[in-house]
């Protein structure tokens, strides 16, 4: 456990996150859009406020959609061993979570529309208290991981 987890998630994750960032991130642009609308239809707002608002939101939108996914992918590592599942991720705060195998209650895989297009799946691991997700694994890898975990769980529970 002294070594940090090594397995990376699929590199297509970056593409998937960029697409979803570009789509869902449009919410950021809704704020300046509303401000412009308000300014022209109801009560004028000073131009410099409008434009700086637009600029800052645009920057957030683009950074969030184009740069963050790359870093997020680089930071995501996981490992599955006989005794535990070890997850490490985090953009600014580095988070590491260790789930003892025999505490796991169930594992499942899921995919949304973007993941499906890129044939990616995420694996969800549930304990009695929490649910954890390994995002963006290749469909085949995800199925393998799921089967491996459920096999390990069965083995660990027989041991006890």
């Amino acid at each position: 456990m002294n070594r940090i987890p090594e397995t990376r998630i699929d590199e297509k994750a970056i593409k998937a996150w960029v697409i979803s960032g570009l789509v869902l991130g449009l919410v950021w642009l809704a704020v300046p859009a509303l401000a412009f609308y308000y300014s022209y239809k109801i009560e004028p707002i000073p131009q410099y406020i409008l434009w700086s608002l637009l600029a800052s939101m645009l920057v957030i939108y683009l950074v969030n959609a184009l740069i963050v996914p790359k870093i997020r992918w680089q930071r995501w590592r996981y490992d599955i061993t006989e005794n535990e599942i070890d997850l490490q991720r985090g953009f600014i705060v580095r988070k590491r979570t260790v789930i003892p195998i025999n505490r796991i209650q169930h594992v499942d895989t899921s995919q949304g529309p973007i993941y499906r297009k890129l044939s990616l799946s995420s694996v969800k691991i549930s304990t009695a208290a929490t649910t954890h997700e390994i995002p963006a694994l290749d469909d085949e890898t995800a199925a393998d991981v799921r089967n491996k975990i459920s096999l390990l769980v069965r083995k660990a529970k027989e041991d006890v």
Partner: protein, 477 residues
């Protein structure tokens, strides 16, 4: 082979009362609307209509609710429009509650609630059955099968399982002390504050002038202070009464397999927690209680409960920290109190002292902008620094053979005891500032209610956090 049974008819009365209580506001509004008119207002019909409807629903609800214990399962059929079959297998049962509410007490009955683990399930409630019947059900539904227990205690009669081995009672004096020091009046104060916000329309200039004219020496400032004091006194009284009602005749009993907690003055509760369902133990020393050396002890179990404040079960409302070890020995032999040997290192001290002030720095410009003497809140800085120092002093961790002990403080000091094999997840958090100093925070999750409960200790030495992760996943022989 047992047959499906109905509850005592009092269940219908209970359901009627519950319906009325839930829709009390609607009923009152309807009542006033209907009496205001000239006698044949449409609201009068609606009012009586809904009363009759509640009666019918109450009766039908009782008539269509049947239950039995069969094949180690509690089976319940219920529902008026949508029929529901609820099957709870007894291996899944976490907690069994018996409650005597007001209606139940009138008829000498109890309410039985069976809680299972995990989300998506629900609590099975049988609203009104006789005490004997409830005891019989409880005996049938306990966490372990009878054969299992017989194998363990030998061939003695099965009654042995029910024998009370130890009893712990809350003395009158401790009940009073618990009520006096109950910390949750802050919550009630905020509720009252919200209510007084609603009263704005009554606090007009004229009314204020009237009060000021008639109370000698009253000014705006004294009035504000008076209102604050009044809110604190009222909320403290409410909280005092709440604790007295809830924990009167409080008693913990121990049998071979369960802890049984009984308490309450008007509504008597009777909670059975099987030993093998205990997820964690939590000792909370409130701000008012800690100086006296006292706190409250809670049990976390994985029974299904959505409401945050009902997830944990109070094991002891008021106990001295020196008595915990003795209590563990007699009632929770698998738990122990250990010295917290792993502490945050000295280099973390400044982080602790700074942290409570962060929020404050956000507030400062707002206060400065809004109030004449807004910068005056700066006088709170030493207080927050002190809080940070106390948080640093109290934080600690111990990893013994089987028990993880973790202590931390936000305002109240919390000490949690978790068995190694009850740790659901354990994690490490490192922010950039911590990374520079080789520090890390540790989070430990145990199951509690439908969700988990997280315990967190900040700024430990990174190496010691890794050690804790290793300890948690290590297989015990």
């Amino acid at each position: 082979m047992s047959e499906f049974k109905r509850q005592h008819p009092a269940a219908a009365v209970d359901q009627l009362f519950t319906l009325i209580r839930k829709n009390l506001v609607t009923f009152i509004i309807l009542f006033f609307l209907s009496t205001r008119g000239n006698g044949n207002s449409i609201f009068l019909y609606i009012f009586f209509g809904s009363l009759v409807l509640s009666l019918v629903t109450g009766f039908l609800g009782w008539w269509l609710f049947t239950y039995r214990v069969h094949n180690d399962e509690l089976q319940i059929k219920k529902g008026i429009l949508v029929r529901k079959n609820l099957y709870l297998s007894k291996e899944r049962i976490q907690v069994i509650d018996l409650t005597e509410g007001i209606v139940q007490r009138l008829f000498g009955l109890v309410k039985l609630e069976v809680k299972t683990a995990g989300s998506g399930t629900e609590t099975a409630t049988i609203n009104a059955i006789s005490r004997d019947e409830a005891e019989r059900l409880r005996a049938e539904l306990r966490g372990r099968s009878t054969t299992e227990v017989v194998a363990e205690v030998g061939e003695q009669s099965v009654d042995v399982i029910d024998d009370v081995l130890e009893t712990w009672k809350l003395s009158k004096r401790d009940l009073m002390m618990a009520a006096i020091t109950s910390g949750n009046f802050g919550l009630i104060a905020s509720i009252l504050g919200a209510i007084s916000g609603q009263l704005d329309s009554f606090i007009t200039e004229e009314n204020l002038d009237f009060v000021i004219d008639h109370l000698p020496g009253a000014s705006n400032v004294t009035l504000v202070i008076a209102v604050i004091v009044a809110i604190i006194v009222i909320s403290w009284t409410l909280s005092f009464l709440g604790i007295v009602l809830k924990y009167s005749d409080f008693k913990v009993e121990r049998t071979a397999t369960d802890l049984i907690i009984t308490s309450g003055l008007i509504e008597r509760k009777h909670i059975t927690v099987p030993y093998n369902r205990i997820q964690a133990i939590r000792f909370v020393e409130g701000v008012l209680r800690q100086p006296l050396g006292y706190g409250a002890l809670y049990v976390e179990s994985a029974g299904f409960e959505i409401k945050e404040n009902e997830r944990s079960i109070t094991l002891l409302p008021y106990i001295s920290k020196h008595e915990i070890q003795t209590f563990f020995k007699t009632f929770l032999p698998e738990y122990e109190q250990n010295e917290l040997t792993i502490k945050p290192p000295k280099k973390a001290l400044f982080k602790y002292i700074r942290r409570p002030n962060y929020l404050f720095l956000l507030l400062l410009p707002i206060a400065w902008y809004l109030f004449d003497y807004g910068w005056g809140i700066l006088i709170f800085i030493p207080f927050f620094m002190y809080l940070g120092w106390v948080q640093f002093r109290d934080a600690g961790l111990n990893l013994s053979q089987n028990i993880l002990t973790i202590r931390y403080r936000s305002l109240a000091r919390v000490t949690a005891f978790i068995k190694q094999n009850r740790i659901q997840t354990i994690g490490q958090r490192v922010n950039p500032l911590q990374a520079r100093r080789d520090l890390a925070s540790l989070t430990v999750t145990a199951a509690s209610g439908a969700k988990g409960i997280e315990f967190k200790i900040r700024d430990l030495d990174a190496g010691e956090v890794i050690e804790a992760l290793n300890w948690a996943v290590d297989k015990r022989s």
